[in-house]
């Protein structure tokens, strides 16, 4: 059910219930787009009584309820997408994290499944992004001040002679660090 339809139903009943009141059924907000046409027929206004299952609520309540319903759904969808992204891009981290689960058959199954998933993602090279990022971070961790000076020099065109610094500034910082490590 849309906002406009709730508003329409509210306007239809304002005469009997006062300006601040709208009608709402417990299930209305659960039925986005469904059963909307049936709404006015379910109302009886004899002696200001409402048919069973209907209750009067303030208009602001209906608006907030409607917003909460939509925002909860939106957040739920967003979190599902986030989980999918993490499953695809961060499979190696996931397989490491599940190792810490308490011992049990459920944990064993989870670990086996996550390892199989990680292998699959490796095959499709989806884990390469995180590997590249980590390599760059590790290279930065290993870099010394000479490396940084050379890198700044190469960026701003004031590179000191490679012989004196002992660093090949044509290489990216990440590669330099990883070469030194190896």
């Amino acid at each position: 059910m849309t906002e406009e339809q709730i508003e329409e139903a509210a306007r239809a009943t304002e005469t009997d219930l006062g300006d601040e009141m709208v009608l709402e059924q417990d299930t209305i907000l659960e039925q986005d787009g469904a059963e909307v046409g049936a709404l006015p027929e379910h109302l009886e206004f004899e002696n200001a009584h409402l048919s069973e299952g209907w209750e009067s609520v303030p208009r602001s309540y209906a608006r907030l309820e409607s917003e909460t319903h939509r925002t909860t759904g939106r957040m739920w969808r967003a979190m599902s997408i986030a989980v999918l992204i993490l499953l695809f891009l961060n499979a190696d981290r996931l397989s490491r994290m599940v190792q810490s689960l308490p011992v049990g058959s459920w944990a064993d199954t989870t670990i086996v499944m996550s390892e199989a998933w990680d292998e699959e993602m490796h095959k499709h090279e989806l884990t390469d992004i995180s590997t590249t990022i980590r390599a760059n971070v590790e290279a930065f961790q290993d870099a010394n001040w000479d490396d940084v000076t050379s890198w700044i020099g190469s960026v701003f065109g004031t590179t000191p002679e490679p012989e004196t610094s002992g660093v090949n500034t044509d290489e990216p910082l990440a590669l330099r660090g990883s070469t030194r490590n190896s």
């Binding site: 907030l64 909460t68 939106r74 979190m79 996931l94």
Partner: protein
């Protein structure tokens, strides 16, 4: 269960889904959240669940009694008993060992050594936080700031609500309990703010705090006597940034999670290292604790209403006890004493200077404005370095190690091993964010709240992915868990 873990991610997805499904059944929702919070707490050590329940029950009963009794004397008596019981719980679990060890040392020094009843008492996670929340509830009921709750579920949820249970922020009953009687709402603004806070909290904790802890602070504080002055200097700067990112990161995540569940917490940090005075620092650092100490300790002691001497004494006592609250060790006592003493000195000097140069109403000229800015800058630098000095005692394992650390600043000949570009960059970036506009987070949240769900999901997913990719392996416990 730590926030940045797989277990917590799964736990939160379930709690989010079920709690919003139950939003129209308030009692059921609260019952579910209490159960979830006890599950969260029991994940560490299920044996302490009874302690949490006992603390909640004591405070609920005391609040109920205060609400029912009419005579001020019996109300005072009830509050006194409740506060004493709360402090007994805290005292036993947190200070029993410290007290006996100190007594044993003193008796040995006097040649009166005795066999004392030492016990190996395990410190329950978050006991200081939930005890303070319990006291806050009973005192607020007594002061009339909040009505005594007739729902035991409300009090149980207030004390055990999992986002703030183990490391704060210390939520006030007057602020939180009324929210429990309203139908919970989730607005776009709350989602925007929650997302920004969770992501910034994760960056602070998982990237900045964890790298600084493992690569800089822990090695230096392990044995400061073998380090040069340069290493020691960057070590204490690193610890200042680490503890800020660790604790404010936790607070950000807690506030963000509460927002996604429909509850509002107040901010716990506000760029503390941009403070130009120690008084300003305490308005920006661990706001929920400093305001708690102000309202439930400093003001009941008399605050600044009973003359100069009493004011300085109250300031000192508040900070001294605040230091002791952080941990049962002499290093924390020194930390609190340093802050209490310097707050007093600062207050005295400010008053004397104001007496020499009273404020005028005229528009300041360029010289005056320049000197104002210079003084402000000097104030920021001085305050930051004084806070760093105090952090040395806060972090050191013993007074001896802290003293070694201070002595090391005289040695500028030992080569520096830890002043690396990576660590300097981490500290510099974190400090830079102390001086950005304070509404930066709100602006980001304003932008995010309008995004459609696929884009919001992409921000969340890619944000967490990127943080995980650059963060070191493993998750270190939050520093404030030990308090």
């Amino acid at each position: 269960m730590l926030f940045p873990t797989f277990e917590f991610g799964l736990f939160f997805l379930i709690v989010f889904a079920v709690s919003w499904e139950l939003r129209r059944e308030l009692s059921l929702r609260k019952l579910f959240l209490v159960a979830a919070s006890y599950f969260f707490y029991g994940w560490w050590d299920w044996r302490f669940l009874a302690l949490l329940a006992l603390s909640s029950f004591i405070n609920f009963s005391a609040g109920w009694l205060v609400g029912r009794t009419q005579t001020p004397l019996s109300q005072k008596l009830t509050v006194g008993v409740a506060v004493t019981l709360n402090l007994c719980i805290l005292g036993f679990f947190k200070y029993y060992g410290f007290f006996l060890e100190s007594l044993d040392d003193a008796l040995t020094a006097l040649g009166l050594a005795r066999d004392l009843p030492f016990l190996h008492v395990i410190l329950p996670v978050g006991v200081s936080f939930f005890t303070f929340q319990g006291i806050s509830y009973v005192v607020d009921v007594y002061r009339g700031h909040v009505k005594a709750s007739h729902s035991i579920l409300n009090v149980f949820l207030y004390i055990s609500f999992f986002p703030q249970l183990v490391a704060g922020p210390i939520v006030r009953a007057a602020h939180f309990l009324p929210q429990l009687d309203e139908t919970p709402r989730l607005t776009r603004a709350m989602v925007g703010m929650g997302t920004v806070l969770i992501l910034t909290g994760l960056i602070k904790k998982m990237v900045i705090a964890n790298y600084l802890a493992t690569q800089l602070v822990d090695p230096i504080f392990f044995d400061p006597s073998v380090r040069g002055a340069g290493d020691l200097l960057i070590g204490v700067y690193g610890y200042a940034v680490q503890i800020y990112c660790d604790f404010s990161g936790y607070s950000d995540i807690a506030i963000g999670i509460a927002a996604l569940l429909g509850y509002r917490f107040t901010a716990n940090f506000n760029q503390p290292y941009r403070s130009a005075s120690l008084q300003d620092f305490w308005r920006r650092w661990h706001i929920s604790l400093s305001s708690w100490l102000r309202d439930y300790l400093y003001i009941p002691l008399g605050g600044s209403r009973k003359g100069s001497f009493a004011t300085y004494r109250n300031l000192f006592l508040t900070m001294f006890l605040g230091g002791l609250w952080h941990g049962a060790a002499w290093t924390f006592v020194v930390w609190g004493t340093l802050h209490g003493t310097m707050l007093g000195i600062e207050r005295y000097l400010t008053r004397r200077l104001n007496a020499f140069a009273p404020k005028d109403d005229g528009t300041p000229g360029i010289i005056k404005r320049l000197s104002g800015s210079t003084m402000h800058l000097v104030g920021i630098i001085w305050t930051f370095h004084f806070v760093c000095l105090a952090w040395i005692f806060f972090r050191a394992e013993s007074i001896g190690l802290a003293w070694d650390y201070l002595k090391g600043f005289g040695d500028w000949t030992t080569p520096n091993e830890l002043v690396t570009p990576f660590l300097v960059a981490l500290i510099a970036i974190a400090m830079l964010f102390q001086f950005t506009p304070s509404r930066l987070g709100r602006w980001l949240a304003e932008g995010i709240k309008e995004f459609p769900s696929p884009m919001l999901g992409a921000i969340l997913g890619l944000g967490i992915f990127f943080i995980w990719a650059i963060a070191p392996n493993g998750v270190a416990p939050f520093i404030y868990f030990q308090f």
